[in-house]
Amino acid sequence: MSSIPHDHVAGHGEGHEEHAHHPAGIMRWITTTNHKDIGTLYLWFSFTMFIVGGVMALTIRAELFQPGLQVVHPEFFNSMTTLHGLIMVFGALMPGAVGFANWMIPLQIGAPDMAFARMNNWSFWLLPPAAILLVTSLFVPGGAAAAGWTLYPPLTIQAGMGMDLTIFAIHIMGASSIMGSINIITTILNLRAPGMTLMKMPLFCWTWLITAYLLVAVMPVLAGAVTMLLTDRHFGTTFFNAAGGGDPVLFQHVFWFFGHPEVYIIIMPAFGIISEIIPTFSRKPLFGYASMVYAVAGIAVLSFLVWAHHMFTTGLPTAGLLFYMYATMLIAVPTGVKVFNWLATMWKGSLTFEAPMLFAIGFLFLFTIGGFTGLVCAIQPIDVQIQDTYYVVAHFHYVMVAGTLFAFFGGTYYWLPKWCGRMYDEKLAEIHFWLSFVFFNITFFPMHFLGLAGMPRRIPDYAQQFADWNMVASIGAFGFGFTQLLFFYTVVKCIRSGPSAPARPWEGGTTLEWTVPSPAPYHTFETPPIVK
């Protein structure tokens, strides 16, 4: 349950002063084993990669502003689409979610830190070298990987050295993710405060626990797939090389066995954040806590059974098509439970609309659109028409951006007072929401029309009839991109000069993190609190 009945919470206030000394300057950040420091590092890394990936998105949209080739060469355009996807998924969204987990899970379950503090440090510091590998692949002979973030052979077998750097980057990021997941699972299973049973945990912890299980199961599969790509490229194997008897379609099966759960890996922590924000600003407990937990678990299980809906045009047998179509549709049931419960939580609540709540409602509205277009894509006869068109691009951006990213923005505003001890500028945050909401829809809603009209994705040039909506989408993209500078300014302004925040800035906040002072002391819950 999201609101924890802790009649007596002890152990959070004492002993902080004597433990507050820690290395200062750059060494603090390099050597830190503190979950709050590492959470901060993850969040800033995520934001940096979000900007890098965002610049790549704007390069794509600049080229697509009008038909013809104006800004970049087609090969570079393909590298941009590939790196944009990889950086946003592995560099921005996943580390962002881990940043929230590092900051909030120990605070929400009453643990003093993560279970493996040194491994936590290592998990983070693996990421910058991987990001550098990915970005510098642009400058090696042959350029960066240009086969799309899905890395399908045979293109990836034939590509230049940039592909090798990409493979190593994925290996490193995968290792980081697996270590982080094991840390999160161990922390949640073993370090919960006395009295905090699993079914009393805040939903954010539940969503992360299930996400971590998914990560442990699927990241090694991706690592295996790209390892086989590497051996195909350099060591004479022919796993996916048709010339030697291999099967490129097998790669697609293996990739999507990872790739589809990956979608839920990215969205489920966002579900958790939304499930914290909505009850707080509705001033009501989360409706249907147990059903929310079972719905998340149900989504996780189903996510392993639907991977081939990404491959409806590869010639699957009819029975396979039917199975994957119906199994995919089945995911709408637990997802619908979640949306219903969020709405029911708001129903007759004492609602206020601060920035976190605005982002949560924006999430609900837009994620539901993304979910419904996902159902459209799940219907195999329709998918055959819209496969690899801009309709699919619109669909997954409604899930990834309006879903996960909006939840991250909401979560940042929600917990920022706890993180830095200062309140953010509410007016600026609300402007950030409204500009993001409007520009997001200007960017991605027209892509539905483009896709239905037949515009393929991953092309630098297009037919004249797609020109108008592409121009609109590009204007929206630049608006959305520049709006995020306002987010950066709002956060920095809050950290540097915002008014002091109380321990519980939101009167509806009932979870354990609101029982510690703001900013959260360097060490918290050294004596575990008793949760009743």
């Binding site: 279970a115 161990t186 073993n190 049973t197 442990v216 090694p220 599969v221 796993f239 575990p528």
Partner: protein, 70 residues
Amino acid sequence: MDTNAPTKPDDPRRKSANLRTALVFASIAIVFFAGIIATKWIGGPTIGIGVMAGAVVLFLVFAIGRNLRK
């Protein structure tokens, strides 16, 4: 771990419980990584199922064996 009794973070019992949990999940990750490559290397779903089954049996033997020792 019993969550009803407060334990210190550096409690050896807690540390070994953490290590056990981590090792279980790390070995699952290794089985998945090696399993997918072995399946493709040797070919056929039988190998994949064999790797998974072997891993499950090993887990059971290890889990039961630990308790038998006590």
